[in-house]
Symmetry: C2
Subunit: 465 residues, 2 copies
């Protein structure tokens, strides 16, 4: 059995902590077993390890999340990189082609696809075995995990089984039930009816035999070789796996799971799983009950006389919400247009301290940049901005227009428009960068070389100060 974890989404439902570059699964807000905080992706990866599947699991994701995944799970985590973000069918297709043509996985082997942000107990992962047996024994093309609903939610999809001809007692014998049909996000009345019929929640966990997918590719004229699939990726339809596969297969079964499963997609549900009421600098008065404060800013927050409230502050913005109202967040922040103010990268992270646009037409962006020891920024040029750097901590090496310069705490460097510059941290480096130009966007960057060895090779004047 192979596990493919899907890591997608750039949702704003956990704004201001989640943004286009930091999806909800990377927020380190959950209590880990050692007492430290962990993110959803760290929790799931840890649980997969405990269940003994780590060497059979890989993560399918896009470039935008690669650095974050490696920072949180380690550089060795196996990643299937989508050339661009499309939808779940192309992502799963790419993973299947990878398993088949690169890893040489047997066509008979079961592949389980699951979201990287399920909040479940450890035994959910041991229950994946039942998906494997269901696929191998039932002859079905698809097996889904179906969670026994705890309330008639309007937010989830439901899996309806032929419960009359297959009463739940039968489950004991083979562990799975044939699926009759699906109902997506029903109104509460219908959800209640579905519960009484024994319908199950679709938690987005699918299993199939690898050849089911490979046969489908052949049928659809899609490549079965990974390299070819990568090349053609941008031509694949932007369709979901649900639409392209789940709703079309003739024979699908569901494995019922009677345990805790949560979608921590809103502040209301996420804070239920947060043990500490305060993360960051601030105070919540004793009279406040069930109030959570998360503060990533370096100024204090005081919360007085408010219960059942979530207060979250990040460089992107500040949310103050009654927890029940936090489900309406997306609409409320639709009017905010802003660049990400915090991003994690392969080399470290940056935080925007201030952005200002002047009436004269130029813009100024002040950032603090942290480059981890041993990491480097690519050798690059900007066409529309100059930069000034004040090194506020650490040591490193700068290549500026072919000159190698050693830099350390307290140094001030000017990078004119068009100047080629690359930087490597020998000790953790922190820099205050002031960008100054006519259009300050991350895209104004010409990468000359990526690795530090290549950058060093371009040095023409090794003037070590």
């Amino acid at each position: 059995m192979k596990l493919v974890l899907l890591s997608g989404g750039s949702g704003k439902r956990l704004w201001p902590l989640s943004n286009d570059s930091r999806s909800k699964q990377f927020l380190t807000l959950l209590q880990g077993p050692s007492g430290s905080l962990e993110s959803m992706v760290q929790r799931v990866w840890r649980q997969i390890g405990s269940a003994g599947y780590e060497s059979d699991a890989c993560i399918a994701t896009g470039k935008g999340q690669l650095d974050l995944i490696r920072n949180q799970l380690g550089a060795a985590v196996p990643v299937i990189l989508e050339p661009e973000r499309r939808d779940t069918f192309p992502a799963i297709a790419l993973a299947a082609a990878y398993l088949y043509s690169i890893q040489g996985v047997s066509l008979n082997e079961t592949v389980v696809v699951l979201p990287v942000d399920s909040f479940v107990e450890d035994r959910f992962f041991t229950a994946l075995e039942q998906l494997d047996s269901a696929i191998q024994q039932s002859g079905a093309e698809l097996a889904l995990m179906g969670v026994k609903p705890s309330y008639p939610s309007e937010k989830f999809g439901y899996i309806v089984t032929d419960s009359v001809s297959n009463p739940l007692t039968n489950r004991e014998t083979n562990g799975y039930l044939p699926i009759e049909y699906f109902v997506e996000k029903p109104p509460e009345r219908q959800a209640e009816l579905l519960l009484s019929m024994g319908a199950l929640w679709n938690c987005g966990v699918f299993a199939f035999r690898l050849n089911t997918m490979i046969d489908l590719f052949i049928e659809q004229g899609l490549p079965i070789q990974y390299d070819e699939m990568v090349k053609q990726y941008s031509q694949l339809n932007r369709t979901s796996f649900d639409y392209e596969v789940v709703e079309r297969v003739k024979h699908a079964v569901v494995v019922p799971y009677d345990g805790e499963w949560k979608d921590l997609g809103t502040w209301n549900t996420l804070t239920e799983e947060m043990k500490a009421p305060i993360i960051g600098t601030g105070t919540v008065c004793a009279e406040s009950h069930n109030t959570h404060l998360i503060n990533e800013l370096n100024i204090p927050i005081a919360v007085l006389g408010l219960s059942n409230v979530i207060v979250t502050a990040s460089p992107d913005g500040i949310l103050v919400a009654d927890k029940k109202a936090s489900t309406k967040l997306k609409e409320a922040i639709a009017c905010f247009e802003q660049r990400p103010m915090y991003e994690e990268r392969r080399w470290g992270y940056y935080r925007v301290l201030e952005y200002k646009k002047f009436s004269e037409g130029h813009e100024v962006l002040t950032k603090r940049i942290c480059i981890k020891a041993g990491r480097n920024l690519s050798y690059q040029q900007h066409t529309k901005r100059k930069e000034s750097w004040t090194v506020i901590s650490g040591e490193g090496e700068l290549v500026l227009n072919g000159r190698l310069i050693r830099i350390r705490t307290g140094d001030v460097i000017q990078i004119p428009v068009g100047a080629a510059h690359g930087l490597k941290a020998n000790l953790d480096l922190e820099i205050i960068e002031v960008q100054f130009g006519t259009e300050l966007v991350e895209e104004d960057i010409i990468r000359l070389t990526h690795s530090w060895d290549e950058t060093i090779a371009s040095v023409t004047d090794p003037q070590l100060l």
Copy 2:
């Protein structure tokens, strides 16, 4: 009649907008007559002008508020500057000595002392005339304004008159009543009783004949000349005018005032007078009632599903409070220890973008500094920090160790430890300053010269770049 406005306080009851450098009377949150926002001090000064008293009024305050008062009321506003902050008796004594020995005000003239942050209707100021007549006609040493209470508050002081022998009908004839005694902040039951007795709120407005005060100085051995009073100011007792004068005079009268008077000292009371529910960047959802959002940061704030709440964000911190609970603010923020993150000065203002202390022992403070066209920073040195400046807007002249250098948008300047530097803005100048050193405090400053003429006179190398 002369008016002395007392501008004191550095309260934290309106944190995070008020701080040690910006008292509540300078917050521009009130709706002015022209539609623009005005501060309490601007409102009172405007009302004094409308009542025709502007040329008879002056403001007694400390150095810390001088720049703010001049920025808000204009450079010509007459200010009596306290050499240091002590209490209300020394402040009023200094003002009396000033009126007597510098302005040559007649000893028979009435002096009215009033707080700069009373929130009242315009007719309150025309009613000051009655204080004048009371002093001139009653023979009393002191006349107070007494506000007719609108509810039995526990927060105010009460003035009790002999209402039996002086029924309110008598008021029509002379406009004042003899004061029997004072009650400070009574519990609600007693406050109710006081209301039934016709007691009045003490709103901190006192009138006396100038010679009453001068006689007191002579009796106490205090100087009556302003210059001498300034010299001895640091030896004056730190006592309040209430303690030193009001509670000790033999004959005091009160002028009843039956109109609106408010102490806008908490977010609860202040927001009642704010017309706009939102100041700054942000959104409050339609379901929220009586919720106010004030945002001085440049990141957006979303408030969802919360009524009767105040959300205030400034560079100093963020407050989220039920309005009723905002009276407990002082205790809640007692644990926050922080330097001011925003300060207005004679030359403009600065805002701290970030402060960071490193484990290696050094500190880094990143500020945006704005210097108004024509203004200058004094010629100064720092002993414990170096600075890097990136000019992000405007033009100016820099004197650095005796060299005159013209600077403009985009320039980067380094100020080493101990370097003498002065700066004048020719156009409004904005600078990102990174301070770097072992102890970053405002006090680490040796002022060599103050005016730009003096600074220019010290230039030894007029190298205009």
